[in-house]
């Protein structure tokens, strides 16, 4: 059974098709990568799947429920979360609070008890905080447990976003360029984090430019160009595909 199934998905911005008639499936427990040159529609695809954009056409099925057009917070409730290419950190909060927001669904907060700081609220908050710290350690930004998010370096913020997404306990995690802006060592570490996440049974989809990472950790790769599917398959298959090479590396370089 597929976890996510996309059928004939399209999105047009002012007459230009950013994503056009795209279909693919994602099976549970695997790592998928979506590659393609800049402007190929990868981030748009992410935005469509996670409800940030409304599709112009097509269907998205998540765990066999039609979810096209649902708002992001509903999708999160169903078990889908993501990170962003342009960081969407809550810079007005501390690092650990950022992750605690990720656990929002599971705290099910009510206003009156929160106002009064009832013991039950305090206890659950404490647990939530502990869990958030664990997650920060898990993704490798344990050094920033007490930090203000605004004072953290870029690489740590990328991890913080992953921790926040994990705190919502997703079944499907979409990572938008997790390694962008990171150096080689940091990329290697993110690699490990992603593998560990997948190891816990979370299905991961990532958009990434770092080919070494993509080729190294993906079970399955989807290559896009001009919003359309260019190729699909295992890393080895995609790497050999001449269309991919010419689109990605530029004409004449193959």
């Amino acid at each position: 059974m597929s976890l996510l199934r996309v059928d004939g998905l399209s999105k047009a911005f002012g007459g230009i098709n950013a994503v056009a008639d795209l279909s693919f499936t994602i099976n549970p427990g695997t790592i998928h990568s979506i590659i393609g040159p800049n402007g190929a529609g990868k981030t748009t695809l992410f935005n469509l799947i996670t409800g940030v954009y409304h599709p112009s056409g097509g269907r998205i099925r998540f765990q066999d429920a039609d979810v096209a057009g649902l708002p992001p917070y509903e999708l999160a409730r169903l078990g889908m979360s993501r990170t962003f290419q342009n960081l969407q950190i809550f810079f007005n909060m501390t690092a650990v609070e950022n992750v605690m927001v990720g656990a929002h669904l599971h705290l099910n907060p009510r206003v009156l008890p929160s106002l009064l700081h009832l013991p039950v609220v305090k206890r659950r908050d404490r647990e939530c905080r502990a869990k958030a710290r664990e997650l920060m350690e898990f993704v490798g930004c344990g050094a920033y447990l007490e930090a203000d998010s605004a004072s953290m370096p870029y690489g740590a913020l990328k991890r913080l976003e992953i921790a926040r997404a994990l705190a919502s306990r997703p079944k499907l995690l979409l990572l938008d360029e997790p390694a962008a802006g990171l150096n080689a060592t940091e990329s290697r570490e993110i690699d490990e984090v992603i593998k560990r996440i997948a190891g816990q049974g979370v299905t991961v989809v990532l958009v990434e430019h770092d080919m070494k990472m993509v080729m190294g950790i993906s079970d399955h790769i989807l290559a896009l160009d001009y919003g359309r599917k260019l190729a699909e398959g295992t890393p080895a298959e995609v790497r050999q595909n001449p269309d991919v090479i010419s689109a990605y590396l530029g004409a004449g370089s193959a």
Partner: protein
């Protein structure tokens, strides 16, 4: 319990409220202090909306005035007990805010400012026009606050009531901010989409905070009506709304104590400036401009940061 920064702040505020009357030579000082405290309560509520959730409102005086008028009308014309009238006012204003919140909070930035401003002005016009109900521009006389036969009179008593109310409000606000609800509110400010993808129904939280801050305003409005004895539509005017926002921003957005400090300063300032007579407006304008130019984050956050930097350096 470990004492954290906010709790120390709460204790300090309590100490100031308790000790300040020692410096008061007469009840006029209590009077000014009460209005400052009332404004502080209102601003703590408004700060949840503006500072923490990042949604501007230029019409909040409208909710304040509605609360005042509902209390005034119900107690003087229908002889309802003041506390019941206060609750009815809060429920009515809360309901109105709830109905308005969804369509309004879809707006952003200056469009939101315009919409809230419009609502405030419409409320003002209704209060001003429907004289049969509100007394029109000449105002509405409101009875003293009395509970079960006991009447609250005298500036001293009002001072303690307002002081306790402020402490309670600050405590509630600190609690809320440090809870999952508060984090969701702040997340709405930090990044709406970032909050949404981890399951925060941002629309719901914007409505929630709008209603909470409106109810705060309504309750303070009710109390204000009983203390002042006379209310006029002017309390719901655009200028009063702007004044409230200025208090929050001046003191420091997203800082509960900032809201308190801003409210106190802008409430006391006009009384300090009376001796400048015709220069009063010029000085007030200068203070507003220069504070915001040199401390764009507001007074309390800026001072705290300076202190922290100095602490870090030494």
């Amino acid at each position: 319990m470990r004492l954290t920064g906010p709790h120390i702040g709460l204790l300090a505020t309590a100490a100031i409220i308790a000790l300040l009357p020692l410096t008061f030579p007469n009840s006029y000082y209590y009077d000014v202090a009460v209005s400052a405290l009332f404004n502080a309560v209102l601003c703590v509520g408004l700060n949840l909306l503006i500072g923490y959730a990042g949604q501007i409102s230029l019409g909040h005086a409208g909710f304040f005035a509605l609360g005042a008028y509902v209390s005034g009308i119900l107690t003087t014309r229908w002889n309802l007990p003041p506390l019941l009238a206060l609750v009815v006012g809060a429920v009515l204003v809360g309901t109105l805010a709830f109905v308005l919140a969804r369509p309004i909070l879809r707006l952003k930035g200056h469009y939101l400012a315009m919409a809230t401003l419009g609502i405030g002005i419409i409320i003002f016009i209704v209060l001003n026009t429907e004289a049969w109900l509100t007394g029109g521009p000449d105002g509405l006389t409101v009875n003293y606050l009395s509970v079960a036969g006991w009447t609250l009179k005298g500036d001293r008593n009002w001072y303690w009531l307002a002081g306790i109310l402020l402490l309670t409000t600050v405590w509630l606000s600190l609690n809320l901010i440090d809870s999952a609800v508060g984090r969701a509110l702040r997340a709405v400010h930090g990044s709406e989409v970032g909050a949404a993808v981890v399951g925060v129904d941002t629309g719901r939280y914007k409505v929630l905070v709008f209603v909470i801050s409106a109810v705060f305003a309504s309750v303070v409005g009710s109390l204000f009506a009983h203390r002042n004895g006379l209310i006029t539509p002017g309390i719901g005017s655009f200028f009063h709304s702007v004044e409230l926002v200025a208090m929050v921003v001046l003191g420091g957005m997203a800082s509960t104590f900032g809201a308190v400090v801003g409210a106190v300063i802008l409430s006391v300032l006009p009384h300090l400036l009376t001796s400048f007579e015709d220069y009063e407006a010029i000085i007030l304008g200068m203070i507003m401009m220069s504070t915001m130019i040199f401390m764009p984050k507001g007074i309390v956050p800026t001072v705290l940061r300076l202190l922290r930097q100095r602490g870090g350096a030494s």
